[in-house]
């Protein structure tokens, strides 16, 4: 058994277990912490695929910025004495059933694509994920979407301030 295979299975099991913990924890703070574990496992997958730029961006943006924002919001709210509304276990059961059915559909559809299953994924090789190559593509072919995304960020920033502002 190859070392990359062992790392792949370890990261997959870690990601799935942490994702289940995210969904099942009662306390939102534990959910946030488990979600950070999921993001680190996915970054490990990116490193395994030699997509180093995306691995670093994933850690910085998701585990660094977005999750800290979530933690801020969770800790800002006083979530201890919330009124408990109707806890519908029937709805939970139905939600899990529909998620499982969607998984069955996706897996069986991908199994039936026979020419897809002949293909394989190159691990730890290839240089398309390096910063040099991605930067060349990003600033030549995708320069216009890059600039448009900066406008998107500006509008998101203005929108967050306007929405979060206290009405006087």
């Amino acid at each position: 058994m190859d070392i990359t295979t062992i790392i792949f299975w370890f990261l997959s099991v870690l990601a799935l277990f942490s994702a289940i913990m995210v969904v099942t924890r009662k306390n939102p703070i534990f959910s946030v912490l488990w979600l950070i574990v999921v993001f680190f496992a996915i970054s490990g997958h990116y490193l395994l695929l030699n997509a180093q730029f995306l691995a670093v961006v994933n850690i910085i943006v998701y585990a660094g910025a977005i999750m800290v924002l979530f933690l801020f919001v969770v800790m800002m709210m006083n979530l201890d004495n919330l009124p408990v509304v109707n806890k519908n276990t029937w709805m939970k059961f139905l939600g899990v059933i529909s998620g499982g059915l969607l998984l069955c559909i996706l897996v069986s559809t991908s199994k039936s694509a026979t020419d897809m299953n002949l293909k394989t994924i190159v691990l730890k090789d290839g240089d398309i994920g390096l910063i040099e190559n991605l930067g060349k593509v990003l600033f030549t072919k995708y320069a216009l979407p890059f600039e448009i995304s900066s406008i998107l960020f500006l509008s998101a920033m203005v929108g967050a301030v306007v929405i979060g502002k206290k009405e006087s």
Binding site: I66, G99, L102, L106, L118, V122, L123
Partner: protein
């Protein structure tokens, strides 16, 4: 590594996110499950960008997969913008309703 492993891993992560959105009533946890689904799709896109066809003979066309990784980068950009606005909406909802349970958001019902 066969491509079906990555497909099954990413779709399992996605379906855990779907089940979380459907079962949980906490708005923040629902939002986190949406992030989980976005990350599952990102993982599958990166895996597809490194896909290589065994059936093509050596010297055949190898598709450059840099476009897929740029696409993942833009998904991350949009997700960051979405999170900032979405958390602002959740904070506003907490300020108005004093709860983040989505069962309280039923004013459109009647």
């Amino acid at each position: 590594m066969p491509v079906s492993y990555y497909i099954i891993l990413a779709s399992t992560l996605f379906c855990i996110g779907v089940a979380g959105v459907l079962t949980r009533r906490n708005a923040i946890i629902i939002f986190m499950c949406v992030e989980l689904m976005l990350n599952a799709v990102n993982l599958l896109l990166v895996a597809f960008s490194k896909m290589q066809n065994i059936a093509t003979p050596p010297g055949g066309v190898i598709v450059n997969g840099a476009d897929a990784q740029i696409f993942v980068f833009f998904i991350m950009v949009v997700a960051a913008a979405e999170v900032s606005v979405g958390l602002a909406i959740i904070v506003m909802m907490y300020r108005n309703v004093h709860s983040i349970d989505i069962n309280f958001l039923n004013r459109l019902k009647n």
